[in-house]
Every structure is written in structure tokens, then in C-alpha cells.
């Protein structure tokens, strides 16, 4: 079954319904008696609510109910919980403020929900929402890290002095100090990792239905992890046991992290349905998404790298401020700490590291995981710093990296920041990327650009990421309130077709195809005879969902584990039918064979025998052929590689054009190369988006000033080139597929490569720093400032 198994670029099974316009996204679901919810949200970043008058709204045509924070309190709905507790340096726990589903007298960011209007039509709900009268007493607000950490800054929470949520550290400060003390060179850099809006093109939506006859809730929601949502609603927010709550995440139009988290709207539509006796659907408008979906990044760091006289890295010291927003989102505190600081060794042999992270509350939308989640921040910091080191020491950027990359013979490699990398070959991916971008011919192209009045720049980033999230005991020790295993169930039907139930969720990743390929590989069943089911807590035993590039490494491994149980059971049945010992039977190309003979039974015959057990080892083997498995990973996985970029800058306008992007990744064993390349493409677009175009901007009063697609610059087709994507595989050593993960590599590796390329282009003009996004205005201003300062060649 090599043509359909691991390594085959088969076309996707899920495509047909999407191409025909027959996808089934949350907003497409309209239930009998459907009603519609619209939220009234705060227009202030920080205010006391003195009055919410719902009288006029409640009397408007078609309105079924207007619910406020008082109703939430009266019905004792739980606050939105945080899923990860970080400990301070002194061992105490982080400040964990309440997060009510609807505001309780105070609003803490623009977009904080205050009231919920439910009506028979969306138009009626929208019209009535305009009639809800909210009296605010505005209070001073802080949105940006610099202002939130200034002395005397307004407080988001009285209990968080200085707006500090936690003050955490990792690594060995004494060892790092010693490394700096003996350094021949120290390179320092101040960096901002810009704030982003994830912007899945499908806005978030939720449709709740309470079936009074059966005392049962159903929630359709745009989620990457329906079981996690059910767990949090059962245990913390709705207080309804799991068997009375079905969560369905049907087709989901992209997530990128923003649909991991439990949001208030999910809870509220389910609760409101019980109150009004009809299903309640809410669908975000895009401008609403900007002020209610968790944002990503928003770090400020000071970084210092110590090197010896030969350019060998000796130590790294990092201080980071991380913006948490006004409330703690589900995984928010884990992002700058265990998903970022732990990756500060990058792909380098770095003998001493010390990182300090202060998380800061601000009057903004909560910040949480967005594609890459912490790892782009670590990579950006390291790769900007290494480039600066090369300039400061007067050595070649590529050679400085080559000198410091972990060598293949150093694996497994124990970093100074808690992780142990199992395998990798960073020198080979470096060489492959340089070849793919024809680095040897670069100077010629640079001269050609110059002849056209353009400044050409080359940028590189060698990166690593930690994914395949995550060993449960380890993350539990680090503060996670959940285990991060994955579950799978494989049902072989009597005629030999197969249904796979996975606890991961596919919202673009192609699991319905890749997981079918695992079945084809193991059982020899054609992918057309395999159905992969995901996204429904009533159909799938359990699951932790899809994020952190975990689906193949953890979810796929759970499927393999269940398939192995199927194969073993089938062996016993086949051995009986073939009158052989189970130890002498093997499954090859879809048939159980007695080793060394031509006696065989097709897999389908064994399945049939399992369900029609007339001639069957019934004393020792149960009928049926269905197995479940839970898989807890032994370690994170560590994809890595090299991303290279060439840009052209127009010195007159500051416009940066990305001319070429060539990358070489090691994502472990590749199940479907077509899908893997596609994942890299999408990540690259988001990474280039961060580097050049995208940024959520708050003004000093906490107003989000670019919350539409007219104002927030999303990368469009004409902004990007085609991408050259290459791979070099070193299999992961600790999961049964050898897969590492590919979902986030593009967004992690490429931003520093782009900025390094821009700075390379601008180097002759004397520009030494630029922050993301490198917009034409920013580049132009940097050029003018350098000119005014008399810098440049």
C-alpha cells in the first residue's frame, strides 16, 4: 500500500465537500427554532459600569431576552478558567484574577462583553443591542507594555502590583554570569515581538441548544478542541456533567491557536438557550473578532549573547516582558515561559542560559497562543541576536551559525533550559536552504538590483521548535492543569472498511487524509475505505485537540497504538483460521500470512470472521474488531531547519519586496508531502505577514485602532512570492511514526530571516535596527534617520 501509505502525496479526501460548497461550518448550522445573539461590548479600555438599562432593548420587536452580568451572577456561572499556573521566582503562584463571562461592574478592555441580546432574527438582535444603555465611568487605562510597567501606572487588577501577573525565571544565573565574565565579546539587543491578530478567515461562532425534554445541552462551536471545551464547561463554567453536554466542532475555517481557548460566548449561548427555550446562535463580525479573539505575541525583550574570541557562543541572558492582556486566557501564561524560554537554546550548543520573564496585565484583549506560540518569539530573539553578533565581530553570518549549531553526534542534546532534543541535522538543512536560494549567486543578483536602484538583502534564520505537545507528567509538574496525551479509536467494520475516531481536530490540516494513510500503511486498507471522524464529543471517546503541531506526533501515535491492537487481535483470529500459531502470522500488504508459506487470509476476511464468529477462537478472543488507545508522548518533538530570504528595498519609498524564500525543514517522517509543503507555505505567509505587514495597534487610551481588514494589513497574494520548500528527514526517535510536526515551522523560522534580510539591505545606509512590521513608512523613516545622523557608507 506504498501508493497510499506513509510518504504518498495523495489528494485530500476532505476537499470535495469544501469545493462543492457543502462544508458544514458552525454558522452554517441553523437549528429548528433558531434564535440569534448579539453582544454589547465595552467601548472603553477601562471603566466602571454604573448602570446597564435593558428596558428598551427587551421591549424591541423580536427580542427574547437581554442578559447581563447580573444574570450570570444570579445563575452562578463560573468564570473563564486559566489552564496553566506559573510559579514566581519565590515559589508563589501567579496572580490569577477572575474572568466573568459578562462584566461584573468593571470592564477591562475594549470588547469586554457587557450584555447579550437574544432575538428571533439576527437583524432584530442587532437593532436591539443598540438600545441597551450602558453608563460608564471611564478610568485610566494602560494597553502597552512600556506604559503598564511605568511607575505609578494604572492597575488592571488591584492584586497585581505593578501589573505583574508573574515574575518567573529559568536557567542558571551563576553559570551564565560566569560565561559573560569570561567572554571576549558581548552582543546586546532590545527587541519587540509585535502583537498580532490570528485572523482565521472564519470568524468565531457558537450555537447552543438546551433540550429540556432530555435535560441535555448541545454546543456547536468553532473550536480546535471540543473535548477540552466540554471539560472546562463541565468543571468550571456551565457546571453540567459531561454526559449532559455534547460539544461539536464541525468544519472549522482555520484556527491558528485562536480557537483553542474556552471563550465566554460558548458558555453564554448554551446557558441562554436554557433561558429562552430555543437554540441561540452567535457569529462574530470581523471587527468583533479583533476585540474578542485572543491575540498573539506582544513581548519586549532585552537579550545579551556572550561569545569567546573565536565566535563560539558561551552564554545567553534574556529578560522578557510579556503582555497577558486584561484576563488570563486558557494557555496564556505558558506561552512566554514553557513555550518560549525553553526554546532559547535554539539549534545551538549554548552552554549557559538564564531567562527571566515578567508577565504584565494590560487593558487589552487576552494574549495567548498564536501559530508558533512562544517559539517564534524565542527564534526571533536568537536569530536577530546572532546576526548582530556577526556584524559586531565582523564574521560571516552563515559561518557563525555553522560554528555554533549542535552537531549530529551531539544528540540527544540536553539544553540549559530544560529540554532534551532527540535528533536533528541542522548543518544539512542549512546547506540545503543555501543551495535552494542559490546563495552562491547572491552577489550577482545584488549588483543587478543595485543597477535598478534597489537595495538587495539576504536574510537567514536557523531555528528549532518544540512541539508534539506534550508529556502529561512533565507539563503537570510545570503548571498545566490538563494532561496532553491523545486518544483514538479504530473501528473495523464487518466488511473490512474502517472508521477512525480521533481526539485531534482538523481545521485545514488534512487529518481526514493523513490519518487514513496511517490505516492504509498499517492495515493495507485503501484510504477510500477509511473514514476519519473528529470534532464531536459524542462520537469520539476523548481528546485534547489540535495545537502545537501535536496532531500527527501525538494523535497519529494514538491511532498507531490502536491499529497495533487491531493487528494483534487479527493475528489471533487469523492464526485460528489458518491453523497456525499467532507468533507465526504476519500482516503484509493487507493479508495475514503464515510466515514462510503461501497460506493467507485477507484482512477483510478476518474482520468478517470477527463479526460472524462461527469458526472462531471464542474461548479466548472476543468477537468484534474495535480498539481504543490513549498515547502520552515521551518527550516533545523538535522540528528545525533553515529559512532563507532575499528582499529588495526601494530606498526612495521604503517598500520591501520579498523576492525569494527558500527553506529546508526537518519535520521528521513525512506522511503526505503535499500536505506538509502546504502547511509550510501557510506558516511562511503568516511569518512574512508579521515581519512586514501585520500588527495590532492600541493607542495610549487602550483603543484598538486597526480592528478591521481595512486597517489591519493581512498578507495578500500579490504581497508574497512562491516558496521553495525542501526537507531533510531525521526521524523522531520516541514516537512510532517518527514524525515531528510541521504546522508552525513557517511562522517560527521566517520572521527573523525577513528582518535580517531587510537590515542587510539597509546596512550600507547605516540602518542597524528595525522592528516588526517593517512597513514602508518605518523603513523610510529609518533611512531618513540614518541619513540625518550621517551614518552609512
Amino acid at each position: 500500500m506504498a501508493t497510499q501509505g506513509i510518504g504518498a502525496a495523495i489528494r485530500r479526501k476532505e476537499d470535495r465537500r469544501f469545493l462543492l460548497g457543502k462544508g458544514n461550518y458552525t454558522d452554517d448550522v441553523t437549528l429548528p427554532g433558531q434564535s440569534y445573539a448579539v453582544f454589547v461590548r465595552s467601548m472603553y479600555a477601562h471603566a466602571t459600569i454604573t448602570k446597564v438599562d435593558t428596558t428598551a432593548a427587551a421591549a424591541a420587536p423580536g427580542v427574547l431576552a437581554v442578559l447581563t452580568g447580573d444574570d450570570v451572577a444570579a445563575d452562578k456561572l463560573g468564570g473563564i478558567p486559566c489552564g496553566w499556573v506559573i510559579k514566581n521566582k519565590d515559589g508563589s503562584s501567579m496572580v490569577e484574577p477572575p474572568h466573568p463571562a459578562l462584566a461584573q461592574g468593571v470592564v477591562r478592555h475594549v470588547g469586554d462583553p457587557i450584555a447579550m441580546v437574544i432575538a428571533a432574527s439576527k437583524a432584530a438582535a442587532r437593532a436591539a443591542a443598540g438600545l441597551v444603555e450602558v453608563d460608564y465611568e471611564p478610568r485610566p487605562a494602560v494597553a502597552r507594555l512600556a506604559e503598564a510597567t511605568a511607575p505609578g501606572a494604572p492597575l488592571v487588577w488591584d492584586e497585581a502590583r505593578g501589573n505583574v501577573c508573574f515574575d518567573w525565571h529559568l536557567g542558571d544565573p551563576a553559570k551564565t554570569d560566569a560565561a559573560f565574565a569570561r567572554a571576549a565579546h558581548v552582543v546586546e539587543l532590545e527587541l519587540t515581538n509585535s502583537r498580532l491578530a490570528p485572523n482565521a478567515i472564519e470568524p468565531r461562532a457558537a450555537n447552543g441548544w438546551y433540550d429540556a425534554a432530555n435535560d441535555h445541552y448541545t454546543l456547536y462551536t468553532t473550536s480546535q478542541n471540543p473535548h477540552l471545551i466540554r471539560l472546562l464547561m463541565a468543571a468550571f463554567t456551565l457546571h453540567v456533567p459531561e454526559h449532559k453536554l455534547r460539544v461539536i466542532a464541525p468544519d472549522v475555517g482555520g484556527g491558528f491557536g485562536s480557537k483553542i481557548f474556552h471563550y465566554a460566548e460558548e458558555l453564554l449561548v448554551a446557558w441562554a438557550s436554557r433561558r429562552v427555550g430555543r437554540p441561540v446562535k452567535w457569529t462574530a463580525e470581523r471587527s468583533e473578532s479583533f476585540v474578542s479573539d485572543a491575540h498573539g505575541r506582544d513581548h519586549k525583550s532585552h537579550a545579551a549573547l556572550a561569545l569567546d574570541a573565536q565566535g563560539k557562543f558561551l552564554g545567553l541572558r534574556v529578560r522578557t516582558l510579556a503582555n497577558m492582556g486584561a484576563y488570563l486566557s486558557t494557555f496564556g501564561p505558558a506561552v512566554p515561559t514553557y513555550l518560549s524560554a525553553t526554546l532559547l537554546s535554539g539549534p545551538y550548543d549554548l552552554p549557559a542560559i538564564y531567562a527571566e520573564v515578567k508577565a504584565i496585565f494590560t487593558h487589552t484583549v487576552p494574549v495567548d497562543a498564536y501559530r508558533g506560540a512562544g517559539r517564534p518569539e524565542a527564534t526571533y530573539l536568537l536569530e536577530r541576536l546572532v546576526d548582530k553578533a556577526a556584524r559586531q565581530l565582523g564574521v560571516d553570518r552563515v559561518e557563525l551559525r555553522r560554528k555554533n549549531l549542535i552537531r549530529p553526534d551531539q544528540f540527544p542534546y540536553q539544553t540549559q533550559v530544560a529540554l532534551q532534543y532527540d535528533t536533528g541535522d541542522y548543518h544539512t538543512t542549512l546547506d540545503l536552504a543555501l543551495k535552494a536560494i542559490d546563495h552562491a549567486g547572491y552577489e550577482q543578483r545584488k549588483a543587478a538590483s543595485a543597477a535598478r536602484g534597489k537595495l538587495r538583502g539576504f536574510g537567514i534564520s536557523t531555528y528549532i521548535e518544540g512541539c508534539g505537545i506534550a508529556p502529561s507528567a512533565l507539563v503537570g509538574a510545570l503548571g498545566a492543569r490538563a494532561g496532553l496525551y491523545e486518544a483514538a479509536s479504530v473501528r473495523v467494520h464487518p466488511t473490512g472498511s474502517v472508521t477512525v475516531f480521533t481526539g485531534t481536530h482538523s481545521h485545514g490540516q488534512g487529518h481526514e487524509t493523513t490519518f487514513a494513510q496511517l490505516v492504509a500503511e498499517k492495515l493495507g486498507v485503501a484510504v477510500d475505505n477509511v473514514e476519519v471522524v473528529h470534532g464531536d464529543t459524542d462520537r469520539i471517546p476523548f481528546g485534547m485537540g489540535t495545537y502545537g503541531s501535536r496532531s500527527a506526533a501525538v494523535g497519529g501515535s494514538a491511532i498507531i497504538k490502536a491499529l497495533d491492537k487491531i493487528i494483534d487481535k487479527g493475528k489471533k483470529i487469523a492464526a485460528h483460521l489458518l491453523e497456525a500459531s499467532p507468533g507465526d502470522v504476519e500482516l503484509v500488504d493487507g493479508s495475514y500470512r503464515v510466515v514462510g508459506t503461501d497460506r493467507a487470509k485477507a484482512f477483510g476476511e478476518i474482520a468478517f470472521a470477527a463479526y460472524v464468529p462461527h469458526n472462531y477462537p471464542i474461548e479466548t478472543v472476543e468477537p468484534g474488531l474495535e480498539e481504543s488507545a490513549f498515547y502520552d508522548p515521551k518527550n516533545f518533538t523538535f522540528p528545525g531547519g533553515t529559512h532563507t530570504v532575499e528582499v529588495e528595498v526601494d530606498p526612495e519609498t521604503g517598500v520591501v519586496e520579498v523576492i525569494d524564500v527558500a527553506i529546508a525543514d526537518d519535520v521528521g517522517v513525512i506522511i503526505n508531502p503535499m500536505i506538509v509543503d502546504g502547511q509550510a507555505h501557510g506558516g511562511l505567509a503568516q511569518g512574512i505577514g508579521q515581519a512586514l505587514y501585520e500588527e495590532v495597534r492600541y493607542d495610549a487610551d487602550g483603543q484598538l485602532t486597526n480592528g478591521t481588514y481595512m486597517d489591519y494589513c493581512m498578507p495578500r497574494a500579490a504581497d508574497l512570492p512562491s516558496f521553495k520548500v525542501g526537507n531533510h528527514v531525521t526521524p523522531c526517535t520516541h514516537n512510532p511514526i517518527g514524525v515531528k510536526g510541521v504546522g508552525e515551522v513557517g511562522a517560527i523560522g521566517v520572521p527573523p530571516a525577513v528582518i535580517n534580510a531587510v537590515l542587510d539591505a539597509l546596512h550600507p545606509l547605516g540602518v542597524t535596527d528595525i522592528s516588526m512590521p517593517a512597513t514602508p513608512e518605518k523603513v523610510w523613516r529609518a533611512i531618513q534617520a540614518a541619513k540625518a545622523a550621517g551614518k552609512g557608507a
Binding site: 476537499d15 461550518y25 454558522d27 482565521a200 475555517g253 502546504g678 497574494a717
Partner: protein, 157 residues
């Protein structure tokens, strides 16, 4: 309320709706043609693109009443007899879709491009699709798919 007659995918429908009803609302909520999507509120994302009298139109920027009497084609109207339209087939063959949310708009827009420019260059495709946002594919495979779709449309396949 207004009574509006819409010809969608070769079928005539009469709907009663407020006169302010957008074409996309008429398609999604009245005719239950949910293949046409809404991804923004500023006519930027293009997920709602449909074909009105041979031109691609963002159906969030047109009143249903304005489309009265016009020939409207949505993504659901492209395949014939269970067989994918060449542009749909090209998107599958070249992995031009991931989550599938922007895909209907992309395909409707790409078909309009191919009518105007039967053999579009990569540059032309990238600029034509300026009004359609995709967050998954980085556009790389969409561009390949549109080129391939154009080629099969030229070949009359």
C-alpha cells in the same frame, strides 16, 4: 418586507425579506446556500464572492434586490452531474485549499479572471486575487491551482 425573485444556479426563487437584505444573507439564510461565506464586515476578504451575470461580485456589498432578475451562480452551482468544475478539480489536484473557508470565493473569483484572461500569468493571478484573503495556504498552491484550472478551461475540459 420586500418580495424578491432571484435566479440562482439556474433555479428561480422568490423570497420575502427586508429590503435591506444583502445578497449574501439572501443566499445563506433564505436559500440555505451556505457555501458562500462571510469572513469580514468591510468587503475585504472575498469569501462571499459569487457570480452575477458573468462577473464576480462580493455578495456582501450588494443588496439582494439589486440582483433581482440577474443570473446568479454560487459555488454550489459549478459542478455538473456530480463532476467537479475544472477550477474545483484544479484546486483539489494542487492542494489549493486547507480549511476550505475562503475556497468558494477564490474559485468564483478565479473563474471570472479566466473569462477575462484565459491564460493568466502568476503575476496576473496574484494581483487579481488581491480581494480574496486566505490565511492557510500562503496563496502558493492557489496560484498553481488557478493556472492549472485556466489551462483545463482553455482545453475545454
Amino acid at each position: 418586507m420586500a418580495t424578491i425573485t432571484l435566479i440562482v444556479n439556474r433555479q428561480t426563487h422568490t423570497i420575502d425579506c427586508p429590503p435591506t437584505t444583502l445578497l449574501v444573507e439572501a443566499l445563506r439564510e433564505h436559500l440555505r446556500l451556505t457555501g458562500t461565506h462571510v469572513g469580514c464586515d468591510t468587503s475585504q476578504c472575498g469569501a462571499c464572492t459569487v457570480d452575477v451575470d458573468g462577473k464576480s461580485v462580493k455578495s456582501c456589498t450588494m443588496l439582494a434586490a439589486e440582483a433581482e432578475g440577474a443570473q446568479i451562480t454560487t459555488i454550489e452551482g459549478l459542478a455538473r452531474g456530480g463532476e467537479l468544475h475544472p477550477m474545483q478539480a484544479a484546486f483539489q489536484e494542487h492542494h489549493g485549499l486547507q480549511c476550505g473557508f475562503c475556497t468558494p470565493g477564490m474559485i468564483m473569483s478565479a473563474n471570472d479572471l479566466c473569462r477575462r484572461s484565459p491564460d493568466p500569468s502568476e503575476h496576473e493571478i496574484r494581483h487579481w486575487l488581491e480581494g480574496n484573503l486566505c490565511r492557510c495556504t500562503g496563496y502558493h498552491n492557489i496560484v498553481k491551482a488557478v493556472r492549472a484550472g485556466a489551462a483545463s478551461l482553455r482545453g475545454g475540459k
